[in-house]
Structure formats: structure tokens, C-alpha cells
């Protein structure tokens, strides 16, 4: 990358910079005219100069060449002789032309600014993309020292101020410089001494200011680094947040961030101070020059060496000087700052071992298979601390072989597998794949034909399906068809991408290369995935996620229909299954004894906080409804009863007594508050209580469940009334534009609820042993029976894995990594101590399944496996045994077990 920002900007926007300059020049005449006109309006028609007698006329649109007074003071050069008007007409004509000029001026400004803005954004986009591109091509070893959040802070925030500067990078100094030069020349023409004086002062300024700026540049680099450190540390702290909690280091982190912020503060403060001092000095120097003009120029005038007219002209010209000079100084200040930023960033992104772009291109040709395999001769690897990881290793591994690589800890087995998968680079020797040195092979070959997994279980946020198919997305395969607006938007995208040298590949195209893995479409892909997941014992987990997942009726209308059917069947079978005593479906006509009173009233899930069960007591709409139905008073009495019983039962307990766990409608801390409220209310009714007390007490019945709390407070009369109110509430809320509640409806799918809740649409009594488990099993069986497992599996694939995949257990994540490397159908699969979260039995089972698959005659592939447990190597055809970074044995496990002591001892452990 260019080491200098201006060079970079010029190189990447010279055409646009020139156009911007031309537009600015073209806008000049209208600009000067619009300054000139007001004077004419006031002098002419308003003050009546030239309209001394009624009937006098004036000439409009007589255009003279607009030259500043100091350049030309003779008779104006006439360009257009004009039209004659009387006084009022002349006023109107002038005023209207003023309006036109001002508008034209504004439009010019708009055009220039838009143009400059777009130019800046384009260069910025190109710069960002270029930096990101370098990140993708950095050698992997570099990321051991790079913090992710620092990279993102550099690409996102640090380059941002450059966007604003780019538009002014060339136009501004040329324009302002031109104006300053004109004024300077004029002063020179008037008086050589004053001219020299001005030149000397301006040159002194031009010499002094950059020197004063040096510490500013240094400071601004420091500020940049400090800010970057801040974002790097913030990123690290968030990533290791659990470490902070378990080790009580929150205050250490606080102090760390505080010290960084402190450094940042003083750097910024110092910057401010210095910037303002320079500004002060600049202004002072210019004013000092003015002082010299008055004093010296005046002196010369008195002495008679300079005539007064000349002095006045010089001073007038000088008045035009400070503006442009200040502009230049400001521009230069901005330039130094962004230049400093730029060079800082370029330094960070410089690397002499970037991967050549050709290694990462897409390819139109079909990528051939690996035919021979690895050939390694005299391989040596030394890490950055200088210790030897591997040496003198020579071996050949054929394409369809299955090989276990074992050895004592850190003996080289792991590093050997990492070299083969290009995660680390060899320091000496040769590693060839199909007779080509590994480092010369493009990523589109190795990335598609070789799969590698290790203990890493990271997934970016996305669905399981996206996580799995990630490895198939090498390049867009099928273009997306676009019509109308979308089509033009895409053309804009392509156009801009071309102009800014961004990637022109269509992100929304179909990227999955079905053909490459021998299938036709997405349906086949899903069944392929399913086969693989069955193989590695993960399919059931995914279906479990599916049944607890939710689905969007807009995307899967048919599936929702089927689930509704399943709901009806499940309900009709409750008795047969023996569930009728403890599964209580939601029925709009019945009070559900397993639910709270509030839930019975609302009969749905709240979609806004004010309708959540904690807030029902303070919800004015609900309260009003209760009052109208005559329920408010009885619920208040019920609340009082609950409160007094609870205070009686729990009042003497210490706050950490485990009994409080059973108290589902109140917290231990609330007890004193309730005791006080009860004392205030006494025998009084609802209306006598304060608003706070009313809400406090009414909160209790809403959270009350008779079957759980067993205080015997609900009778049939009250239940009937609640059902009645439920209906009225529902019809009232349904009329709202955005109903705050998703109602339970036996005939409709509830998109806010999970699949299993949709089938159940009711409550399972908590007091039946293994109730929820039995219901879950019954519903899973029902899905099988209705042949809905495919759908459930499909929903499971849409489960969102969360950031870093953290919503899945680590063993599932590791299995998914294995699954997707199998999905890729590689010719060689390299597995380095992956699956370490599985138990020995699980690892063995998976290993056998994968080995079995690798021998499948339709798609055989080779396996190079570094097992966690060396004993697992016995099922392989061949074992490579490493010791102290060297290959010491290479044979069948059967032979090694008899002849090699090291191998024997490894197995014994």
C-alpha cells in the first residue's frame, strides 16, 4: 500500500478529484455575481441612484467581467449590453435574478458537496476493503499477536475521519492557495517591500507551524494507539468475562480500563492545548502582519515613499489574505492528522508474507480430486520462540490411506497434522500434495479437497444449517434472479464495487455447490446432512432442538398445519395415554387449574411488558375491566388472604431459609412490605387503600395457582367470572391494531411458542412424577407416527447457535465441526485431537463410524487422525509414531504393538 495518504487518495480518485475541481471553478462566476448583486439592488432601485427623475430607466443584465477591484479598476469590460427597465421593474428584475443566482449557488454547493462526499466514501470503502482483504491474506501465525477487536477498530473507526478529508484533499489547497497567491501577487505589484514583508511573514509561518505540529502528530498517533488498546482490551474482557467473574478480578479490570482512559484523557487534553496554541499563534502572526502594514506602511506613506491610495489597496488586498491562509492552515492540520492515522494503519497492515491473491481466487473449472496424496521430505518446523517442533521428517501418505499419528505430548504429532492442513508453515523441507509444494497450491484446491478439524468449537452466529453449509460456500454458483427495483439496486452494487475495487461476488446468490458434493438441490442436501448426523450420533439432538424450537408460519405454512393436526390428535389421545389426570389443555371455556390466575385471565402470552403477569396489577386496562366485571374487590380480598397467610407462615423465617424457594408469588424481601400494607389496609376495602397498596395486594392473586399453592381460595363462582372476563378482554384486545397478547387458540398456530408448546397447548401438572418427561416422549412418538420427523429435523437445523455457538453444548459443537467436514466430501480428512469433549467411548464410536464411511467405495477418502487417546490408533491401518519432533516408527499397529516399546507404553497409559 502507498505509504503516503495523499498519494493513495490521488491514485484512487484522480479522475474524480479533477472533476470536483472543475465543478468548483465553474461555480465561481455565479458565486461572485451573487455577492455583487445586493450592492446593485441597494444602490440602484432602492436608494434611487440613476433614478433621479420619474421615467428614468436603467439597464439590466449588463454583464461586465467580474474582476476583483485590486486586479482591475478601469472601465468594466462589457459582455452583454442588457435590457432597459424603469425603477420598480428594475428592482424586480434585480431581485429575481438575485433569487436565481442564490439558488444556482446553492445547487452548485449541493452538487459539489455530494460529489466530494461520494468521492470520499468511495475511497474510504476501497481502503477498508483493501485492509480487510489483507486480513484474509495474512499468514495465520500473525493472528497469535493480533487482537480481533483491534483489527475491527482499525478498519471501522480509525479510517473513518479520512472519508471527510478525501473530498477536500486536493480541491481545497488548490482553491484556497490560488486565492492567497492572487492576493499576494497584488500586494507585490503595489509595493515590493510590503510584498516581501508579507512573503517573509507567511514563509515564517509556513516554516514554524509544521515544526509546532510535530508533537501533535506524535500525540495523535499515541491517541490512536491508546484508543485501539482500549477497544482491544474491551474485546478481551468481554470474551473472557467468565474468567473475570470466577476470579473476582472485576476491580483489576476496572482499574485497567480506568488507566487506559486516563492515558487517553491526557493525550487528548494535550492535543487540545497544543492545537489551540497553534491557532492562537497563527492568528497572532497574521494580525502582527496587519500591524506592520499599518505602522510601516503608514510610516512610508507619511514619508511619501508610498502613496496613500496604494496603501489602502494593499490593506484591502491583505484583508483577502487571512481567509485562504487560514483555510490552508486548517487543511494542513487535517492532513497531518489523517496522514498520521493512515501511516499508523498502513504500518499495522504491512506484511511481507501476504498470501498472493491468486491463491484465493474463485475458479470456473471443476476442482479435480487429489490423486496421489502427501509426500513429505525432511520437514522441519521451528516456532517463533526458536524451539524445534518437528525435524527430519520424511514420509509418504497416499490419498485413501487411514493413518493415525501418535506420540507422547508435544512430540510432534499435532504439529505434523497442522503442517499438512496449512495451519502452520514448515520452516525447512518440503511438503507436497500431488507432487506440488503445498504452499504453491491455491486455497480453492486444498480448501475443497482437504478437510481439517481440531478441538476448536467456534461458530459464528447463525443457524445450524448455515454453520454446516459454511464449508460448501466457495463461490457463488447460481445467480439470484432479480426484477425491477432489486435489479437496479444490484446493478448499483456492481457498479460501485467495480469503482472501489470491492468484491463483485453476489452475497445473496446460491453459494452452496451442490453438484460438487454430488447432489441436486436443497432437499437432497438436508437428507445428506441427516445421514451424516445419524452417522455421528447427532441427529436426535437436532430433532430435540427442533421440537423445542419455533417456526415461522409465513415460511412453513404447511408444517404449521400439520402441527395443528398433531395437536388435535394429541388432545384426543390424552385419556388413552393416561395423561388426562395431569395434562390440562388450554380451553377457552374452562379455567386451567395448572396455570396462574393471571394466565387464566389473559389466556395467552404477552407480547408487551405491560401485559406480563408481574405488571397486570398496574395495568389500567386490566384494572378497569376487573372493576366493570365486579372482580376487582374479590381479587383484592383474595390478595389480602394470600398476603396474611404468607406473612403468618413465613414471617418468622430467616430470609435465606430454603422455604422461600417454594414461594412463587413473592420474594423474601417483600414480606415486610406486605406486612406493613396489611396493617394499613386492615379491614378496609379496595377503595380505601392507596394506589400502591392496591397494586401490591392485587399482584398476589394474579400469580396464584390453586393446585400449587393450595390455600383453597378459588371457588367455581370466581373461576366462572374469570372465564367471562377473559372473553371480554380478548374481544377488546383483539380490536387493537397490535394486540398486546398472543392468545391461546386451539385452532391456530401460535408463532410465539415452541413446537412442543403448540402441540401441547396446555399445562402439565407439576405434581406428577416425571410428567413433563412422559409428555415429551409421547409428543416425540406422535411426531414419528405422523411422519413429521423430517419437518422437526428441518426446524432443528434452523436453531440459532448463538454467538460463538454458545447456545449449543461444546460436544455438539465439536460434532458439528466433524459433520461439516464430512459434508464437504474431502479426499483427505485431517483430524487433530478434535472431539476432546467426548468420553472415550463416544470418541471410539465416532472414530469407527468415520473410518467406516471412509471405506465406502462410492466416496472413499483418506484419514489422518491425531487421536486424544493413543489406544484408538489400533483400529487404523497405519500408525506414524513421533518422538521429540521426529518420526520414529511407521508401521501397522499390530506390528508396532509387538515390536515398539514406546508404542506399547503409550497404549498402556
Amino acid at each position: 500500500m502507498e505509504p503516503n495518504l495523499l498519494t493513495y487518495i490521488w491514485k484512487n480518485s484522480k479522475k474524480e478529484q479533477t472533476v470536483a475541481l472543475l465543478i468548483i471553478l465553474a461555480s465561481m462566476p455565479t458565486y461572485f455575481l451573487s455577492l455583487e448583486l445586493p450592492k446593485q439592488i441597494v444602490n440602484g432601485p432602492i436608494q434611487g441612484v440613476g433614478f433621479d427623475n420619474p421615467g428614468d430607466i436603467a439597464t439590466f443584465m449588463r454583464i461586465t467581467l467580474p474582476l476583483p477591484d485590486f486586479l482591475y479598476s478601469g472601465e468594466p469590460i462589457v459582455l452583454f449590453s442588457g435590457v432597459d427597465f424603469e425603477r420598480v421593474g428594475y428592482l424586480m428584475a434585480l431581485s429575481i435574478s438575485f433569487l436565481i443566482l442564490v439558488s444556482a449557488n446553492g445547487i452548485f454547493k449541493l452538487i459539489v458537496n455530494t460529489f466530494k462526499g461520494r468521492m470520499g466514501e468511495r475511497v474510504l470503502r476501497r481502503l477498508r476493503f483493501q485492509l480487510f482483504d489483507r486480513v484474509l491474506r495474512f499468514p495465520l501465525s500473525r493472528f497469535r499477536r493480533t487482537k480481533a477487536s483491534e483489527v475491527s477498530s482499525m478498519i471501522k473507526d480509525e479510517v473513518e475521519p479520512m472519508g471527510q478529508f478525501i473530498g477536500d484533499a486536493f480541491a481545497m489547497p488548490l482553491f484556497e492557495g490560488g486565492q492567497a497567491a492572487t492576493a499576494l501577487i497584488f500586494i507585490f505589484l503595489q509595493d515590493v517591500y510590503l510584498g516581501v514583508l508579507t512573503i517573509v511573514m507567511v514563509s515564517f509561518q509556513a516554516w514554524l507551524i509544521p515544526r509546532l505540529r510535530k508533537p501533535i502528530i506524535k500525540l495523535s498517533k499515541q491517541r490512536q494507539v491508546a484508543a485501539r488498546t482500549l477497544s482491544g482490551r474491551l474485546g478481551e474482557i468481554v470474551e473472557g468475562i467468565s474468567d473475570m467473574h470466577v476470579n473476582d478480578t472485576s476491580n483489576y479490570e476496572r482499574s485497567n480500563i480506568s488507566s487506559i482512559l486516563n492515558r487517553l484523557f491526557f493525550i487528548r487534553f494535550e492535543l487540545f492545548k497544543r492545537n489551540f496554541s497553534i491557532k492562537f499563534l497563527n492568528n497572532f502572526l497574521l494580525q502582527f502582519l496587519q500591524f506592520l502594514f499599518y505602522a510601516l506602511g503608514g510610516y512610508f506613506a507619511i514619508r511619501g515613499t508610498l502613496d496613500i491610495g496604494q496603501l489602502v489597496a494593499v490593506i484591502a488586498a491583505f484583508k483577502d489574505l487571512p481567509g485562504p491562509i487560514r483555510g490552508l492552515i486548517n487543511w494542513d492540520q487535517k492532513r497531518t492528522l489523517v496522514e498520521a492515522r493512515y501511516s499508523q494503519i498502513v504500518e499495522q497492515f504491512a506484511s511481507d508474507s501476504l498470501l498472493e491473491p491468486e491463491k484465493q481466487t474463485t475458479t470456473v473449472e471443476k476442482v479435480g480430486k487429489i490423486t496421489k496424496g502427501f509426500s513429505i521430505s525432511n520437514l522441519g518446523v521451528v516456532d517463533d520462540t526458536g524451539s524445534t517442533l518437528l525435524e527430519r521428517t520424511s514420509v509418504e501418505i497416499g490419498v485413501n490411506e487411514n493413518v493415525a499419528v501418535v506420540g507422547p505430548v508435544n512430540a510432534g504429532a499435532t504439529h505434523f497434522s497442522q503442517v499438512l492442513s496449512r495451519v502452520i508453515l514448515p520452516t525447512s523441507g518440503r511438503v507436497e500434495l500431488d507432487d506440488t509444494p503445498l504452499e504453491d497450491l491455491p486455497e480453492y484446491f486444498t480448501g475443497r479437497r482437504v478437510a481439517f478439524i481440531d478441538g476448536n468449537s467456534y461458530f459464528p452466529q447463525g443457524t445450524i444449517l448455515e454453520s454446516l453449509t459454511y464449508v460448501l460456500k466457495h463461490q457463488p454458483i447460481i445467480e439470484r434472479m432479480r426484477e425491477g427495483k432489486a435489479k437496479t439496486a444490484h446493478e448499483d452494487f456492481l457498479n460501485e464495487a467495480r469503482l472501489t475495487r470491492n468484491s463483485e461476488l453476489d452475497f445473496d446468490a446460491e453459494w452452496i455447490d451442490y453438484e460438487n458434493i454430488g447432489i441436486q438441490d436443497q432437499d437432497k442436501l438436508i437428507s445428506r446432512i441427516r445421514e451424516i448426523l445419524v452417522l455421528i450420533d447427532l441427529e436426535e439432538d437436532i430433532r430435540g432442538l427442533g421440537i423445542r424450537g419455533s417456526l415461522d408460519p409465513k415460511i412453513y405454512p404447511e408444517m404449521c398445519e400439520q402441527i395443528l393436526q398433531a395437536r388435535q390428535i394429541f388432545r384426543s389421545r390424552l385419556k388413552v395415554l393416561g395423561f388426562d389426570s395431569f395434562v390440562e389443555p388450554f380451553d377457552p371455556e374452562k379455567y386451567n387449574d395448572q396455570s396462574t390466575l393471571g394466565e387464566n385471565l389473559l389466556f395467552g402470552t404477552a407480547t408487551t411488558p405491560s401485559f406480563q403477569s408481574d405488571n397486570l396489577a398496574s395495568n389500567t386496562l386490566i384494572r378497569e375491566m376487573l372493576r366493570k366485571q365486579g372482580l376487582e374487590q374479590s381479587l383484592f380480598e383474595m390478595g389480602k388472604e394470600v398476603a396474611s397467610t404468607t406473612v403468618e407462615l413465613f414471617g418468622d423465617l430467616s430470609a435465606n431459609n430454603p422455604f422461600f424457594d417454594q414461594l412463587n408469588y413473592m420474594q423474601a424481601d417483600d414480606l415486610p412490605e406486605y406486612r406493613a400494607a396489611l396493617a394499613r389496609i386492615g379491614e378496609g376495602s379496595l377503595d380505601g387503600a392507596t394506589k400502591e397498596d392496591q397494586e401490591l395486594v392485587l399482584r398476589l392473586p394474579f400469580a396464584y395457582t390453586e393446585t400449587k399453592n393450595r390455600l383453597g381460595l378459588l371457588n367455581d363462582e370466581l373461576k366462572d367470572k374469570i372465564i367471562e372476563t377473559r372473553k371480554i378482554l380478548r374481544s377488546a384486545l383483539s380490536e387493537l391494531e397490535h394486540p398486546p397478547v398472543a392468545f391461546f387458540d386451539p385452532d391456530h398456530y401460535n408463532p410465539a411458542a415452541t413446537v412442543i408448546d403448540n402441540i401441547l397447548l396446555g399445562r402439565v401438572a407439576s405434581n406428577v412424577a416425571e410428567g413433563p418427561e412422559r409428555v415429551f416422549q409421547a409428543i416425540t412418538d406422535l411426531m414419528d407416527e405422523l411422519h413429521l420427523t423430517d419437518e422437526i429435523f428441518r426446524i432443528g437445523l434452523d436453531f440459532n447457535v448463538g454467538t460463538g455457538g454458545k447456545r449449543l453444548s461444546e460436544s455438539i459443537r465439536q460434532k458439528l465441526h466433524l459433520a461439516r467436514s464430512l459434508l464437504k466430501q474431502p479426499d483427505i480428512l485431517i483430524i487433530n485431537q478434535a472431539l476432546n469433549t467426548l468420553d472415550a467411548k463416544g470418541q471410539k464410536k465416532l472414530l469407527e463410524a468415520v473410518l467406516d464411511k471412509s471405506r465406502d467405495s462410492s466416496h472413499p477418502f483418506g484419514i489422518i487422525w491425531v487421536p486424544m487417546n493413543p489406544a484408538l490408533s489400533q483400529v487404523f491401518d497405519r500408525v506414524l509414531l513421533f518422538k521429540d519432533g521426529e518420526l520414529v516408527a511407521d508401521d501397522t499397529p499390530a506390528k508396532l504393538v509387538n515390536e515398539n516399546e514406546l508404542y506399547k507404553s503409550l497404549l498402556a497409559n
Binding site: 393416561g578 389426570s581 395431569f582 403468618e648 407462615l649 413465613f650 418468622d652 423465617l653 430467616s654 431459609n657 430454603p658 422455604f659 417454594q662 390453586e706 393446585t707 399453592n709 393450595r710 390455600l711 383453597g712 401438572a765 407439576s766 405434581n767 406428577v768 412424577a769 416425571e770
Partner: protein, 156 residues
């Protein structure tokens, strides 16, 4: 619908709780879960670590000892029986399996609740101690009786 009041009545019939203040019993009843079992379901199995005791509200439960030769039912418990109480007083594995012989409704009293109650009301502990001591004395009596019978039958 069963209410706390009824449950308190049941608890009061259990000797271990008979001396306890009714208000405290109500608290215990409130905190305990009412659980239903179908015929054949296990309340707990022999060898498990116990965390709760059970009061049978109605139904019949089998006490089964698991041996190498299979399961041997040793006793039956009916209404108001208190099962598995040793586990909530000290950390010993379950000495037998308890299985629902009919449809069974029980009150499940968790160990932490029972101990929490004693923690807050030490006089409860004294009641429990008294009950346990009287059981121990009974058992000791029975033991010496049995020993004497054994001696007698040996000497014959």
C-alpha cells in the same frame, strides 16, 4: 381440591411431627410438593442418595429390597405412613426401593426444607430428637428381646 388444612391434618398424624406447632406444620405442608404416582412408578430406588421423605396421602406403596436374586417385597405402606425419613436426617443411601402399588398421592418433603425448619425453630429439633430416642429405645428393646430368643434357641 386438597388444601393445606387437610395436609396439615395428615402431617399431624405422623408421630415424628405430632409434637410440632400446627403453624409450623402448615409451613411444612406449604413447602412440600404434592406428587402423584402411577402404579409401578418408583418413588426412589435402593442405593440412591436420598433428598426427600414422603408422606402417603392415599394409595399403597411397596417396600422392596433388591438382592442379587431379584426383588423381594418386604412391606407395604398405606395412608399417613412416613417413608424415607432417615434420608432427610442423615446422609445414608436408600436402604430399599419404594414403588407405587396403586395410584399413589404423596407429600414430598425435601431434606433442605425440613432441616431449614429445624434451623429456624430449634424446639422442633428437640421434638424430633424425642421421637427418635423413643424409637431407638423401642428398637433396642426389640433387639435385646430377639437376642435373648436367639440365645435360648441356640442353647436348646
Amino acid at each position: 381440591m386438597a388444601t393445606l388444612v387437610q395436609e396439615v391434618d395428615i402431617l399431624r398424624k405422623i408421630p415424628l411431627f405430632s409434637g410440632i406447632d400446627p403453624v409450623k406444620l402448615k409451613l411444612l405442608a406449604f413447602a412440600s410438593e404434592r406428587v402423584e404416582y402411577d402404579t409401578g412408578q418408583n418413588l426412589f430406588r435402593q442405593g440412591e442418595v436420598g433428598d426427600a421423605a414422603y408422606v402417603i396421602v392415599h394409595g399403597v406403596a411397596d417396600i422392596i429390597v433388591e438382592t442379587k436374586d431379584g426383588e423381594i417385597p418386604v412391606a407395604e405402606f398405606k395412608d399417613n405412613a412416613f417413608v424415607g425419613e432417615i434420608a432427610i436426617l442423615c446422609d445414608v443411601p436408600r436402604t430399599a426401593t419404594v414403588r407405587a402399588k396403586t395410584k399413589l398421592v404423596v407429600l414430598k418433603i425435601k431434606k433442605e426444607h425440613f432441616l431449614g425448619l429445624i434451623n429456624d425453630f430449634p424446639e422442633l429439633g428437640i421434638e424430633v430428637m424425642r421421637e427418635l430416642a423413643s424409637r431407638l429405645s423401642n428398637t433396642t428393646n426389640e433387639l435385646s428381646e430377639t437376642r435373648r430368643e436367639l440365645e435360648q434357641s441356640k442353647s436348646k
